[in-house]
């Protein structure tokens, strides 16, 4: 019963040979549906791509397959038998291995130590090291078991993770965005390894945003959008453009355009060759970013997560400073060397992507979170006592109440801790906290990430209203619908670079989708 990989594969006769089947899998987090009736079949010896934008539900699906999340409904079928995968341990026992995007290795231990730590049983380090060496030879993953992990490059660390996974002899290997941290050459080697695995009859579930490599490598692809499977395809018979179209869903009805009639408005935010060195191995280096946002204008920055958006936010907000003052200008002032509070005091406002831990502190009350962003910009109102910095709790509370009322924040009690609010209500609060000051420059990262539809539309409306009152707004989002709904001009971030902005009225969804996949942001276009 050999499966014909070139044919479409859901015929009943082949169901027996399916290695991993997923039927009607659903996962809800409160009101949010992260996976909705997902079906997926992976055949033996198949490299199967799982595609989708961020937030489409890929990670949730993977976590359920690996036993770290339990489905709300639906079933997982492993080699013809329904199974319940209660823990990652059980997943490994079944023969499912995973290599995560972010590695779980100890820097101060050797490669062999790290591998030994993840294996059950009491095999000694020496024989593990020998085995690791043998596997690394067999699969083309050169490794020295005695090296300290801290000394290894990102690509080498990934090899450690893969060898560690293979030592458990998995029949299905899940790779979560394996190439997002690799150089092209390292990615090339990884593909060779995957071909070897495939040749041995193992299956691979390959999660990626990079459509070209999916087309080259994968036998089949399942595409998720908004928690649902929206299609399956044979990637080799598609173009990157046609896959991108499925991912972003171009059939979604056209959005209402908010035209700005002031093409030559006064620039309020200017980025002139903004560069920022990556702070950690997992962050992105910003390269020569140029952009101008005028009064009354909304510029949207689209892009797949992890292409430098959060770094751009840090640079524009002043959480990390620029090398020279003129790199960032706000309202005509050089602010590249000024900190975030100086920028705030001169009319800027910032709303980061992560609500808890960045924009707010989960165990702090709303009034304290109000103070977090506004203690300097509203110093006169919120503090007294000549440098002692005594807090006017009462005035802070009143401002908090005002914001909650303005944005219709639903909350338990008058001044609860941030963690007790739903994502949507907390985001409304964080947006209101800044809009309450009537900023002339607003930078917002992922305005409606993980937010219910009602809150999302309220937030978007508030952003549009602010821009129409004459402020400059920079919106960073992975949600193309949101980008198109809000923006007057659209630019795309890819690998730390920003494409030149295009008029939202003239650019198509497909073109933006291609730019997001790194197709078309060529050097010459960037220079143009």
């Amino acid at each position: 019963m050999t499966s014909d990989k070139t044919a479409a594969t859901s015929s009943v006769s082949q169901m027996d040979s399916v290695m991993l089947g997923v039927k009607g899998l659903t996962k809800r987090f409160g009101e949010v549906v992260a996976n909705d009736d997902v079906d997926l079949n992976i055949m033996p010896g198949e490299i199967h791509a799982l595609l989708g934008e961020n937030g489409a539900g890929k990670s949730t699906l993977v976590k359920m397959l690996y036993g770290s999340l339990q489905p709300t409904a639906g079933e997982i079928i492993w080699k013809g038998k329904p199974v319940r995968i209660a823990s990652p341990y059980e997943a490994r026992q079944l023969g499912i291995g995973i290599v995560f995007q972010h590695f779980s290795l100890f820097d101060a231990l050797s490669v062999a130590d790290n591998i030994a730590l993840s294996l059950a049983g009491d095999e000694n380090i020496k024989s593990i090291a020998e085995k690791a060496l043998e596997f690394s030879g067999r699969y083309g993953l050169p490794l020295n078991p005695r090296s300290m992990v801290g000394d290894l490059s990102v690509g080498e660390r990934q090899r450690v993770e893969i060898v560690r996974c293979l030592l458990q002899n998995p029949e299905l290997v899940i790779l979560d965005e394996p190439t997002s941290v690799l150089t092209p050459q390292e990615a090339e080697r990884l593909f060779e390894t995957l071909e070897i695995l495939k040749g041995e009859g193992r299956s691979v579930l390959f999660i990626s945003h990079r459509l070209e490599e999916v087309r080259r490598l994968c036998d089949k692809a399942t595409i998720l959008r908004n928690a649902k499977v929206v299609g399956e395809c044979l990637p080799r018979e598609e173009t990157a453009a046609s896959i991108a179209r499925m991912m972003v869903g171009s059939e979604i009805s056209h959005v209402r355009k908010q035209t700005s009639d002031k093409p030559e408005s006064q620039p309020l935010l200017e980025l002139n060759d903004v560069n920022l060195q990556a702070a950690t191995p997992f962050s992105v280096t910003l390269k020569d970013i140029n952009l101008t946002v005028g009064a009354g204008e909304i510029v949207g920055i689209a892009g797949v997560a992890g292409n430098g958006q959060s770094e751009l936010f840090e640079a524009v907000s002043g959480e990390r400073l620029q090398g020279h003052a003129g790199a960032i200008r706000m309202r005509g002032m050089d602010v590249g060397r000024k900190g975030i509070n100086w920028r705030r005091k001169h009319g800027a406002a910032f709303i980061p992507e992560e609500r808890l831990g960045h924009g707010a502190i989960s165990e702090f009350h709303l009034s304290e979170n109000m103070l977090l962003a506004r203690h300097q910009s509203d110093k006169v109102a919120f503090q007294w006592g000549h440098g002692l910095g005594i807090i006017w709790q009462d005035l802070v509370r009143k401002a908090t109440d005002r914001v909650c009322e303005m944005m219709d924040v639903r909350k338990p009690g008058r001044n609860p801790v941030a963690a007790s609010l739903s994502g949507g209500n907390l985001q409304k609060f964080l947006v209101g906290r800044e809009l309450d000051r009537q900023p002339s420059v607003l930078v917002i990262n992922q305005p409606s990430w993980g937010v219910d539809a009602g809150a999302a539309s309220r937030i978007r409306q508030a952003i549009i209203d602010l821009a129409r009152s004459g402020s400059a707004v920079l919106v960073i989002s992975q949600d193309l619908d949101e980008i198109f709904e809000l923006s007057d001009r659209i630019a795309v971030m890819y690998d730390g670079r920003l494409s030149s902005p295009l008029s939202a009225a003239e650019v198509g969804r497909e073109e933006v989708g291609l730019l997001m996949a790194g197709i078309g942001i060529s050097e010459d276009r960037h220079a143009a």
Binding site: T72, A227, P352, I361
Partner: protein, 374 residues
């Protein structure tokens, strides 16, 4: 393998920290400590109730021992109040013992080097020098952390041993009392050099007033001012601290200097008020016990005040059972250690709830609900 256990016990993170458990967790810890202490006494062949009575109740029944309680609680509360802001801001100053000692040495410079200098000014000068000495010692780990990223736990702890040896050398060498028959001690302080007693009934000195003022001051700073807010923000969420525009290095320096000043003041107050001279050993580990005090008090100044009294009692009780039951003086350390472990253990209940479930039944509800990442 894991499947064979019929019942699984899991810790599940609470969405919101429990108000109930943050209040009762220190009390549960105290109760567990008493229970474990009773077991310990029983194993050592004593009647546990009698031993606990000698340990925890008897020291509270007499005037002189109440004074001793205050004398011992004074340095504990002062040091722990300073440590609280370090710990709140995620700066792990483990070296308060060293800052205490160096504060004592610096403050003792006046009576030792200028024994004839007797005026009302000498006492405030001694106290100020004590604070400066503690600050100087605390500055070192703060500087090393800010400049080189050195782990402040190690540097501050190692500086304790340096301080201890420094004190030992001082009292045996340059600062030894020339009229002291070669005993390793400095001159005894006299007149204005002695921090006076507060009441005529016993030894409790004005250091206790400093401790109360310190608690009030720190409470005000933490609860009412931007500085206190900044300290909590940086401790809870460094990234949010950057978003708020706070400077983590400046905060590290600030909390180390303040806690050094508190420890140094405790040191000179102890030497000037309770001991009356420098000796090779001037502390039964107040700087370390204060870490327990700080945590038992929830890093909250009023709580620290109460916790300081509890831990002072553990010292007195240790001495009491030494006398009445001929136990080792190490019993006090055992009690203090148990208390810290139980406090930290019980604190888990503030952020987590214990969930007991049968495996094999539908475990879909187990954990992860808070994990909203999609």
């Amino acid at each position: 393998m894991l499947r064979e256990f019929p019942v699984s016990i899991q810790l599940e993170k609470r969405n919101v920290p429990s108000v109930l458990f943050s209040a009762v967790s220190p009390l549960i810890a105290l109760a567990l400590t008493l229970l474990a202490g009773a077991v310990l006494f029983t194993l050592m062949g004593h009647n546990p109730l009698e031993a606990l009575y000698f340990y925890f109740v008897e020291p509270l029944t007499e005037t002189w021992s109440l004074h001793e309680l205050v004398v011992k609680a004074t340095p504990l509360v002062l040091i722990a109040t300073g440590l609280a802001i370090c710990f709140r801001s995620n700066n792990w100053n483990i070296g308060a013992e060293g800052q205490f000692i160096v504060g004592a040495i610096a403050g003792a410079a006046f009576p030792v080097l200028l024994p004839g200098f007797e005026s009302f000014a000498v006492l405030p000068l001694m106290m100020i020098c004590g604070m400066l000495g503690g600050m100087a010692w605390a500055f070192i780990p703060a500087f090393l952390k800010n400049r080189f990223g050195a782990n402040e736990i190690l540097t501050s702890l190692m500086l304790v041993y340096v301080a201890e040896l420094l004190l030992d050398w001082m009292v045996r060498g340059p600062w030894r009392n020339p009229e002291g028959y070669n005993f390793p001690e400095t001159r005894s302080f006299s007149g204005w050099q002695v921090l006076p007693e507060m009441l005529t009934s016993g030894r409790a000195h004005y250091g206790a007033l400093f401790a109360i003022l310190g608690v009030l001051l720190m409470w005000f700073m933490l609860a009412k001012t931007m500085k206190g807010f900044e300290i909590s923000v940086i401790g809870q969420a460094p990234r949010a601290g950057r978003f708020a525009g706070f400077n983590p290095k400046a905060t590290t320096l600030f909390v180390f200097l303040v806690s050094g000043a508190f420890a140094g003041l405790a040191g000179i107050a102890e030497v000037s008020g309770a001991i009356g001279q420098l000796r090779p050993s001037i502390s039964p580990g107040y700087g370390f016990t204060a870490i327990i005090v700080a945590f038992l008090g929830r890093l909250n100044p009023p709580g620290i005040f109460a916790a300081g009294l509890v831990l002072a009692l553990s010292y007195l009780g240790g001495e009491a059972v030494q006398v009445s039951l001929q136990m080792s003086d190490k019993v006090a350390s055992v009690f203090q250690g148990m208390l810290l472990i139980f406090v930290l253990g019980c604190d888990t209940l503030i952020h987590h709830r214990v969930r007991i479930s049968r495996t094999g039944t539908d475990a879909a509800s187990v954990g992860e609900v808070k994990n909203g990442t999609v």
